[in-house]
């Protein structure tokens, strides 16, 4: 994620009042916000309050963000802090256990979640950069089990024999996306 030029550009545009750029930032990071809420068992109206707080803080910080690449980390920390504040205020009212590590600073599971979410963000961004025929083909292949080639062929107009090679070319293109190369390289299995 370090030098994702898309994020830098979106932050810059949003800073100058471009609402579409802001919407794109929201679409990009909403899954991160949601995943962290879920991690702390925060859902429904509580999650909406946490999200409102986090988005508003991000809006007011647009002008002062110096390193847009650090945005996912900042967002994750802010969502986590709001979730923990919410859980603590609950604990004052009713007995809540410490299963989320409310009193601990280090949380390796949280770090893992952040890494996974950063990889997801990069994968979705790289996917969105693919040509339309690739996006259509890969979407059909996501199904588990994947749709039969004959079916894919009839719905995309790609000959059955060309599906395998097209799939490979599309995935190569995906892999070479700069945003994805940065995160995928960082954690080879």
């Amino acid at each position: 994620m370090r030098d994702d030029p898309t994020v830098v550009g979106l932050v810059e545009l949003a800073r100058h009042g471009d609402a579409q750029a802001w919407d794109d930032l929201v679409a990009r990071y909403a899954p991160l916000v949601w995943a962290i809420c879920r991690r702390y068992g925060v859902g429904g109206a509580d999650a909406e309050d946490v999200a409102a707080c986090v988005w508003l803080r991000l809006v007011e910080r647009l002008d002062t963000i110096r390193e847009p690449a650090a945005l996912p980390g900042w967002l994750a920390t802010t969502v986590r802090r709001e979730c923990l504040a919410l859980l603590r205020s609950r604990r004052r009212q009713v007995l809540v256990g410490d299963e989320f590590g409310l009193d601990t600073v280090d949380d390796p599971a949280f770090e893992d979640l952040l890494l996974t979410q950063e990889r997801h963000i990069a994968l979705r961004a790289a996917f969105d950069n693919l040509p339309e025929h690739c996006r259509r083909l890969l979407t059909l292949l996501f199904d588990d089990p994947p749709a039969p080639y004959a079916e894919i062929s009839s719905s995309t107009g790609t000959p059955v024999g060309a599906i395998g090679p097209t799939r490979r070319r599309c995935l190569d293109k995906l892999r070479s996306d700069p945003a994805l190369a940065a995160v995928a390289g960082a954690e080879q299995p």
Binding site: A14, G17, A19, W22, D23, V26, A27, A30, P31, V33, W34, A35, A47, E48, D49, A51, A52, C53, W55, L56, R57, L58, V59, E60, L62, D63, T64, A85, R88, R92, Q117, R119, H120, I121, L123, R124, F127, L138, L141, F142, D144, R167, R168, L171, L174, R175, A184, P189
Partner: protein, 140 residues
């Protein structure tokens, strides 16, 4: 990652995005309307005692710092008692996500009282002479 792995990872990434309730995105999009371009942001200083575990009757102190002034606030059971430092006359608003919920005059020594106590997120919006300052959003 080989082709199958990256395809599986991509499917998981897309799946985690489709799990997000639409309200979370809507709230995000509408937050942009709260952008304040004409006011200076006063940040909560780190020594503010917000979020500390306090007894219900305890007084909590918040300090918001802008370039040329600070807004100090004590949270009591029923109101926000504050002071603008250095003192200057003006008008201060209590705003929540729905808009302005209370207005108070800031007197000659910088004092103001805003009530009732806000529930949920709020911020203060100060007009004092040619200074326009908004605090960051907080929840008490």
């Amino acid at each position: 990652m080989n082709d199958d792995e990256i395809l599986a990872a991509l499917a998981a990434a897309r799946h985690s995005a489709s799990d997000v309730p639409e309200r979370i995105r809507e709230i995000g999009r509408s937050a942009f309307a709260w952008r304040t371009v004409d006011a200076e942001l006063a940040a909560l200083t780190p020594d503010s005692a917000v979020g500390a575990r306090a007894e219900p009757a305890a007084v909590r102190a918040l300090t918001f710092a802008a370039r040329d002034l600070t807004i100090e606030v004590e949270v009591t059971d029923d109101a926000l008692h504050g002071q603008v430092v250095p003192p200057r006359r003006g008008e201060i608003e209590l705003r929540d996500r729905s808009g302005v919920v209370a207005v108070a005059q800031v007197d000659d020594v910088g004092w103001f009282v805003l009530g009732p106590l806000p529930r949920g997120m709020f911020r203060l919006h100060l007009h004092a002479g040619d200074a326009v300052v908004v605090t960051e959003w907080i929840t008490i």
